[in-house]
Amino acid sequence: MSTRVVGRPHPIIDAVEKVSGATVFINDLELPGALTGMALRSPHPHARILNLDTMDAERLPGVAVVLSKNNTPDAPFGINHKDEAAFCREKVRYVGDEVAAVAAVDEETAREALSLIRVEYEVLPTVADPFAAQEPDAPLVHDSVAGNIANEFHIKRGGIDEAFHAADATFADEFHTHLAHQAYIEPTGCAAQWHPDGKISVWGCLQSVFLIRTFMLGPVMGMSADDFRVTQTKPGGAFGGKLDVKAALMAAMLSRAAEKPVKFMMSLEEDLIAMRPRMPVHISLESAWKRDGTLAGKRVRIVAENGAYSSLSPAIMSSIALRTDNLYKTPAAEIQGKLVYTNIIPSGQMRGFGNVQATYAWESHLDNVADGLGLDPADLRLKNYTEKGDVSLHGWKIASCAVADATRHVVREMDWKAKRARGGEGRGVGLASCIHVSGNKGFSVELGPDDTDPSSGVVRVDEEGKVEIWSGESDLGQGATSVMAYIASEVMGIPVDRFKVPPTDTGYMPFGMGAFASRITLIGGNAVKIAAEDARRNLLDAAAEFMEIPADELEIVEGDVRAKALPERKMTVGEVVSRTGSVIEGNGKWLAGGDVLDKEKYGNPSTTYSFSTHGAEVEVDMETGVVTVLQVCCGHDPGRVINRLGAEGQVEGGVVQGMSFAMMEGLAPLEGHLRGRNFHDYLIATSMDAPPIEHDFFESMDPYGPYGAKGLAEVAINPITAAICNAVYHATGGARIRTLPVSPERVLEAIEEARNQNTS
């Protein structure tokens, strides 16, 4: 189907305000009379609070309110486990845990007030290591949770033991990932304004304005979700990290207590030590193979570091456990997972939702397998990839799939065969693939209104012919709402520049789950597409009356309603709306497909799935271990590209973010204290680190997606870590990076390890 808008390159719709510095981020929001909110955070990884005295702080002139366990109800909250409180009660469980909060006239006073809060701690032994935490005599992070095990599961599917018995070859590996932060440049913050009727307005850089009310604000504050009007300010990056934002709770609680507006801005340091960074995991893999490279089965054991509180971590662990099994035709699998509490910052979701970690481990393992079987790593993958129409071992239904095309692209563009034939002298190539959901039905149970994963949209055309789209799905800067505008523009025949999509607002917008799980283009896009079709119909019906031509003989072209047969007979869309005396609206709702998984985690969690393959060429300094990524080459299957410029931006941004994670990032906990507390100890890629990236899209035209589109944000990041590690393996003649990041020191150790193995 030929398209006018879809598939072409467009700037994001709010680019002008962004490049001119006019965008109002949360810290730029002015609330007259707002107090400054600040938190007192635990200095200890693990300690009992013996006494907490806020009297001096309360007496300090300029202090409006001091909140702590002393004057707030015990209202535990949490998405999976109710293991978290607004303020620490009997114990602090990580460095950064909120002990108290103040609202004061200015930052200086607030800071002084914090210094006047006296906390007497009994320091307890720190549980920092997830393996030591499982020992029988280990201290307990939560006194009621034996063995520090937050979650545990064990699944066997497809005759795994027989698969291993019958295998021609088996392989085993272990991999460890590190604690890494989303590291958006905008520190997190929220503002709140209490109103005399008891309702509270909240603003913040949030990924989901709807969900924060239902899983955090409402339950903790003893109010109904409807008591809050939550408005998104454009996030300065989020990447998963701005989904469960405790700053919203702090601001709202302080505002209610002070009966004044409060702004609660976190410093970068607070953000790094007290948000929800990407979960570190320890993954053991065993796989069974036929001699020709056919996968026969796999065993996975996962120990996932929960940190002090759970939030979405159980779901992340599931994702790590199951996901890669669906990328290849996997006849049998055994999966064990343990989620372990420690006295470290609670881990959480970051772009990939566990799949970055899982893909790193499995795709690294695959190259070891290829090596062992004497097969080319690309060929091994091509032999085993899932295909359209497959139902995976776990029940995933593959509705569209172009991963093989993506891999062939990488192989061709990188001159793979020639480069693989060389290697071993400090230069090499590697590749890796991934599968990802476009929305996840599991969240609908944990977070949603019921067991649906819905999105809805309203499209409103005004008398000037301008169109505003209301969707509950938020833009995090990735251009998600621009995608909605392009879809609606395509449907309605109205030029893109007449569209506006305001930031999400629970006050007037229809429900949406928010930005996560690569769900917006598919689910939000479908809802908006339906709404746009409705609006178009309503426009044509109105015009039909005014123009005295049947609606089905009219069309909308470039913002004009005109007779198909006689294009000179036309009205502008604005004129049509004007004559109706009202706005013209369209409504749409779309429910995601797929299933809620059963107790054995069987089922089809997403409507459809996206794929990608990343290839990397690296140079390794064999004496220092310094790795330089010379080029990255990728192929992505996003179903259909809606906005080419935005899609390319997702890929390039995902690749560099993934490379950065792989090579230089890390909060670097040491005995419970994080060492990456600023942007010179927590490193992210600079412009100097960005490699040349070549990439293309392989459009599988998904049957469920709007114009065939599915998610792209996360397939853009998942495989790059393994691609780099596999390239290092190739370049060094066998240095396998089993623990991230790929730091020079780690690489050098791996080179020496490989050398020792080769000589022994």
């Binding site: 400090g426 004496e623 670097a668 060492r675 010179h680 100890d681 100097m688 680190d689 020191e745």
Partner: protein
């Protein structure tokens, strides 16, 4: 905190007293004050003292005014040709936004073990010129750093210039900064070597090392293996081993002590080979 802008060096010195600090580029001091890492009662702003901002050749020396910025180093032909390790270190120094403010003296006064400019300045026998109301004095940079974040500069003293010996046509040199990303990074190891050659013999060898001890320092023991010698494989291997031996690094968020020590040897060897135009033992 009191703030005072000095209109002259004399005014700056008069304002210096206990608890006061000079602020020039501010790239270290300002965040240190903001985050409470340093408490100062008075900031004496010397950033407008243009008389301290110059790079010039005089009496066979290169004189670098205390307030010359790192960008000034990069823009200077004199530095590029007659102090190339310093030029290269400036190229690897933070990013342009910081380089535009950070002064040469400030980088030394911050006394970070990883101060980027210290190894190349050490390697060119830098002398630090100081002034106070008591008078002037000069101090070799090798005696400037006393201990972790501690210098020989007295509270009321101001660095006015850094003086180095330019590289001659025969002299050999090399610089390397091992870092975890390609810009805006604190050095894991910094190495600068300068070999003053006379008819094929190394008349003087100076090796400046950064981030492998509490202070940037000269690897005297390593230098001794080179001085007075015709430099070949044996001398280089001995010097590299001595440099690694001399290191007293720590474990930190960037690297372990053992890696740093090892790299100290690897990089000194590499830089000596590079300076001498010898092929590397491993492709670099």
């Amino acid at each position: 905190m009191e703030f005072l802008r000095a209109a002259s060096v004399d005014e700056a010195l008069a304002a210096a007293r206990d608890g006061a600090a000079f602020v020039a580029g501010g790239t270290n001091l300002v965040p240190d004050v903001l985050f409470g890492r340093k408490k100062i009662s008075r900031a004496v702003d010397i950033s407008r003292l243009d008389e301290l901002r110059y790079i010039e050749e005089a009496d066979g020396k290169i004189r670098i005014g205390a307030l010359a910025t790192v960008t000034d180093l990069l823009d200077s032909d004199l530095i590029r040709t007659a102090a190339s390790p310093l030029h290269e270190s400036a190229l690897e120094f933070a990013g342009p936004l910081v380089r535009n403010r950070a002064s040469v003296a400030g980088n030394l006064m911050d006394a970070s073990p990883a101060a980027d400019l210290a190894p190349p300045l050490l390697a060119q026998d830098a002398i630090v010129e100081l002034v106070s109301v008591e008078g002037e004095r000069a101090l070799p940079l090798s005696e400037f750093f006393l201990d972790y974040r501690k210098t020989a500069v007295r509270p009321e003293e101001l660095v006015t210039a850094i003086v180095i010996d330019p590289l001659g046509a025969e002299d050999r040199c090399a610089y390397y900064k091992l870092q975890l990303r390609r810009a805006m990074a604190i050095a894991v190891v910094g190495v600068a070597v300068v070999l003053r050659m006379n008819r094929g013999v190394c008349a003087e060898a100076v090796i400046g090392l950064g981030a492998v001890a509490a202070i940037p320092y000269r690897a005297h023991a390593a230098e001794a293996h080179l001085r007075g010698k015709e430099i070949g494989e044996v001398e280089i291997e001995s010097a590299a081993a001595a440099a690694a031996d001399s290191a007293q690094p720590i474990d930190d968020v960037r690297a372990s002590a053992s890696y740093r020590r090892k790299m100290c040897g690897v990089l000194v060897r590499r830089m000596l080979r590079k300076a001498m135009g010898m092929p590397q033992t491993v492709a670099v």
